[in-house]
Amino acid sequence: MRHDAPLAAVAATRTTCPYCGVGCGVLATPDGRGGAAIAGDPDHPANRGRLCSKGSALGETLGLGTRVLHPLKRNARGAYIQVSWDEALDAVANGLWRVIDRHGPEAVAFYLSGQLLTEDYYVANKLMKGFIGSPHVDTNSRLCMASTVAGHRRVLGSDTVPGNYEDLDSADLIVLVGSNTAWCHPVLFRRIQQNRAERGAKVVVIDPRVTATAEDADLVLALKPGSDSALFAGLLVHLADAGLVDRAYVERHVAGFDAALANAREIAPGLAEVAALTGLPQADIASFYALWAETPAVVTAWSQGVNQSAQGTDKVAAILHCHLATGRIGRPGSGPFSLTGQPNAMGGREVGGLANMLAAHMGYSPAEIDRVQRFWRAPRMAQAEGLKAVAMMDAVADGRLKAMWVMATNPAVSLPRADAVQAALRGLDLFIVSENVLSNDTLAAGPDFILPAAAWGEKDGTVTNSERRISRQRGFLPLPGQVKPDWWIVCEIARRLGFANAFAYAGAHQIYAEHAALSAFENEGDRDFDIGAHAALTRRAYDTLAPVQWPAPVGKSEGTARLFAEGGFFTADRKAMMQPLAMPVLAVSTSEAFPLLLNTGRVRDHWHTMTRTGLSSRLSAHIAEPTVLVHPDDAERFALTDGGFARIATAHGAVVLKVALDAGTQKGSIFAPIHWSAENASDARIGAAVQPSVDPFSGQPELKATPAAIAPISFRSRGFLLGADDVVLPADSWWTRVAVEGGQGRLFATHADAEEIMRLARAAFGSDGLIEMVDAERGLYRCALVRDGRLAAALFLGPDHDAPVWDAVKSAFASDALDPRQRLALLSGRSLDGAADQGPTVCACFGVGLNAIRAAFAEGATITVEDIGRKLKAGTNCGSCLPEIRRIGAQQRVEVPA
């Protein structure tokens, strides 16, 4: 199965990045010591050689330190013991049988992930829906783009992305809705910026939060949370009134136009009403409408700001309506475009990994069930849509679900009411997790079995990116320990459940070929997803498969660049169906108790729950601590200070985060990152505070508008630890773990005083090689442990108002030989040459710090961002830090007028 894994290869392996949905091509060259050199694949159409900060740092995340390498079984005392694969698989299979036998197939559920490869997804979906006979397969994509799937299916008739990335190069207007593209899809953002620079394309950013993406926009519409559909309903009205509706296209290819327009007029009859609903100035709305109306080559792209909403499906529909009404769809440089979050969310959608799909873009109509059953020769087909993520966890909590198998995701962090989810998982009769890592919040819920799954670099299969492009993800590292690919694990369970024949695959290529065959099975062009051209793919052909955009039916192996320019929607009458929208409203509105709206999302250099990016010191340096962004006025209102701490409480849970003032955050809203978990922070499980209200069509929860209260929290002291990973801080301390060069660090705040921390340090470090500085009256304690001429550990504590800075100590910690003359100076926490005082990282690709960039700008008022790039290389790789660099320059000019 590992035929293509070059154990000590020197040749670069072509694969794809495991992070966002852009699906960049990556060249990985193993170093023979378990690591690899990473570069962008210049031949991959998604990125043409470019990588973002996260992708560039992939080489730093390949260690085995945090991996689970053997099947683990939970014993009576709750401890985990290593078992053989046979023992684990037999036990899991028997466990599943017992549950099915006693409670029926519908007591069993799989919770999958956009991190899985299509082949893994396919066999899991097939096993559950066709052989176990339960429809309860859902995936973390439910949190990601389920609303887009529902919107696509309701309006376009199928979950089809009409356009492709080249449209971002050739559009004259690019509208980004609810998308911090600069941070979350940096490589696409660079393409957009290039188009803007070279072709003068205009960029409009629509987002309640003014993010880095807005730094480079022609128009920024910071609308009220949840009012997107009002804005686009108003646009539809404007287009109609301006006589810009493409009558011919609508006549031939669109149903429900008049009803939809009437509905739009009810919601947004005029600018005044739109202004009232969105909180935007009429002038801005007008210029947006005018711009959109007068620009045929327009791409409207959206991400989680649209999807993660209790009205996400309507928001998607509202956008699609405008493109349908003008026929601006599937044409070069124009169309609606969902920018997916995960590397293989699309692949999951294609196999049917979502609970409201069956397989290969087929649903649960009797004909479709029958067709899939015949293709699979399935003994026991699921008969109706299954439980969607949030409902699925409710079913776990109330005992309707007895057995659950979680693969490649961390629901105890990412789902709404994450604490309740974690508790519910604990109560399962049979809880199985396929994982890469040995420890995370989901594993903390105590699965009966932990199955060691292959990670990126070891896995072998295919992924589909946001533009329907199927690419091979290839292994370039050997499978460590007992680790196995997810598809292998699923097939072994299927075999033990008695379905050996249906799951006897010689390799991932055979699974893919079957998946392709199913997509083409009885598909007379009435189903969008058809990759029949790959149905007979040999292993060699599979291994050399070039990136291709589906549909790729038999005879069209070159794939399809765009769809729907000439209609041809995948509905009975081949017409798209415009849908009436509900009045825009948030699922739960603010109250006296919860006066703010909690918005959640990503930061630039981290991914999901940080199991991978958290291993890179470079990526951890940009935003080191879980931080809540607050508008300065709200900070004043709630007595919060920049750099202080705040407790954020909702009806569901609470967290404590560092506070950062941010004028870009809308008044009345706060923003918190999704990445931190109990693994790497004491009080930052934001999922625990997020509400479970879901969209009626997509079941996607409203993760970006949970009513919340915020209040300052104060500590006596603040400090940091380097090394000494096992040192336990005093109870009630706030801490966050940060990957640093040479090991791990912790930033913390505590109610303990210098004396107590000194006792703690001495107990932990002993006196041999311990260097100390004590100023108890000042609440100051610093110590460094020097062993074998290197800085083995350090602990700095200062009063709350004067937290120690760790850059200088960090660089000493990184070096394996400590200059004896520096022993004492170490505790000064400073380096006189200033070299180590980098400040927070701005450019993660080249590790350039804020101070260096400030200094460079300070050299003259004429210094441009390009000069910075030439001088420091900052911003010259992925460019996701360019907006930040531009802002630093601007600030500099304000501060030092030259």
Binding site: R778, L824, L827, S828
Partner: protein
């Protein structure tokens, strides 16, 4: 005709006085310097390196003969002064010679303390004061003799170190439980003791000497508890006493030292005293820095300028190579004081700062004395150190406003 200025004593204070005076008022006085030791003035501070063999005899000389000649100073050495006739304003020398003076400066320094221990007069019992002592001690040490040094203060430590370096098997006896107890706190003293031990010196604290045992020469030191420590040589280095015999004989007011005012004048306006023999505001300094400050002030006065001496801030510098010890001002935190400590025990480093109302009141540096003068300056100036407090222990370079 220049006024005759007679300086009794030919040590560091006297030399500095001539130096300062010659820069201010060369020719105003005809200067005569009279010394008991039959050699040119030398740097007493360098006696222990000399003993250790780290430097040679020529290197400790303060100024060459030519320097004195160039300043027209008549040098009379090896000729102790036997009396002062204040009425006649003249001094008499051992050989009967009488010199008139317009102004007389007493810089007679001090004598080693030598308590009347039983057996104290046995051969092999010595003190540590001048080059003659050093030669004798080296002779013993170089043949690996067993040496007992009595006194764990500056002098004793320097003697012990010198002897050990020169080859002696040295035991250091100290009366109390802590070395340099007048300059060091407990933690600093412990580090210092360890450093001495590393240099092959056996340190015995709480060791009170009862007497010396031996027939025709010293053979052992007997302690109060009865234990005997074999010794071929015993060096008594428990301190010094101001040398005020002349002043007493002349009826000048003297307590421990010759009492002088802020102009360094004794009760006789024509007679001055500087250095270890002088007592200013009840304080007698056994250190070189105050002597230099006094010399500077007196030189200015004699040159007819306004100047006055307000006393010196006590600061101690142990000159034992590799064992830096610096102490200044308050070294134990008294009432209302705050302490800041920087310690690196495995490197033998200890830095303690005593703070009062945001000002530096004193500090102790053991192992690494860099920045000593900087801290001394802060103690003297009493400036507010709050803004640099956290950086203080790391030296002057760090004590600059933090970069943004």
């Amino acid at each position: 005709m220049a006024e005759p200025l007679v300086i009794v004593g030919k040590g560091m204070a006297a030399t500095r006085l001539v130096d300062e005076l010659s820069q201010r008022a060369l020719g105003r006085y005809s200067i005569a310097v009279i010394g008991a030791e039959p050699r040119l003035a030398y740097n007493r501070v360098l006696l222990s390196p000399l003993l250790a063999g780290e430097i040679g005899e020529p290197e400790i000389e303060l100024k060459p003969a030519a320097w004195w000649q160039a300043r027209g100073v008549s040098m009379l050495y090896g000729k102790p002064v036997t009396g002062i006739d204040r009425a006649a304003k003249s001094v008499t020398l051992a050989d009967g010679l009488t010199l008139p003076y317009g102004k007389l400066v007493l810089a007679t320094g001090s004598k080693p303390l030598r308590p009347p221990f039983p057996g104290g007069d046995l051969p092999g019992v010595a003190t540590f004061r001048d080059t003659a002592d050093v030669e004798a001690m080296r002779a013993y040490a170089e043949r690996g003799a067993r040496v007992v040094v009595i006194g764990g203060g500056l002098l004793g430590l320097e003697a012990a170190y010198g002897l050990a370096r020169a080859g002696g098997q040295v035991t250091l006896l100290h009366l109390v439980d802590r070395l340099m107890e007048r300059q060091l706190d407990a933690e600093g003293a412990v580090l210092l003791a360890a450093a001495m031990a590393q240099r092959g010196i056996t340190v015995r604290l709480n060791a009170s000497t009862k007497g010396f045992v031996g027939k025709d020469k010293v053979e052992a030191v007997e302690l109060a508890d009865g234990t005997q420590i074999p010794a071929d040589l015993v060096v008594i280095a428990i301190g010094v006493r101001p040398n005020i015999d002349l002043a007493d004989a002349a009826g000048l007011k003297a307590n421990r030292g010759i009492v002088v005012d802020d102009h360094l004048a004794s009760e006789d306006p024509a007679i001055f005293a500087i250095g270890e023999c002088a007592e200013h505001r009840g304080q007698v300094y056994g250190l070189v820095e105050p002597a230099y400050e006094q010399a500077r002030v007196l030189a200015a006065r004699l040159a007819g300028r306004e100047a006055s001496y307000g006393g010196s801030l006590l600061s101690t510098n142990l000159k034992v190579s590799g064992v830096g010890v610096f102490s200044a001002g308050e070294f134990e935190a008294g009432e209302g004081a705050q302490i800041m400590v920087l310690r690196d025990p495995s490197a033998g480093i200890y830095r303690k700062f005593v703070l009062r109302d945001g000002r530096l009141a004193g500090c102790v540096l053991v192992g690494d004395t860099t920045g000593a003068l900087f801290y001394l300056g802060l103690i003297r100036s009493q400036q507010d150190i709050s803004p640099i407090r956290a950086d203080l222990p790391f030296g002057e370079a760090y004590c600059t406003p933090r970069a943004a």
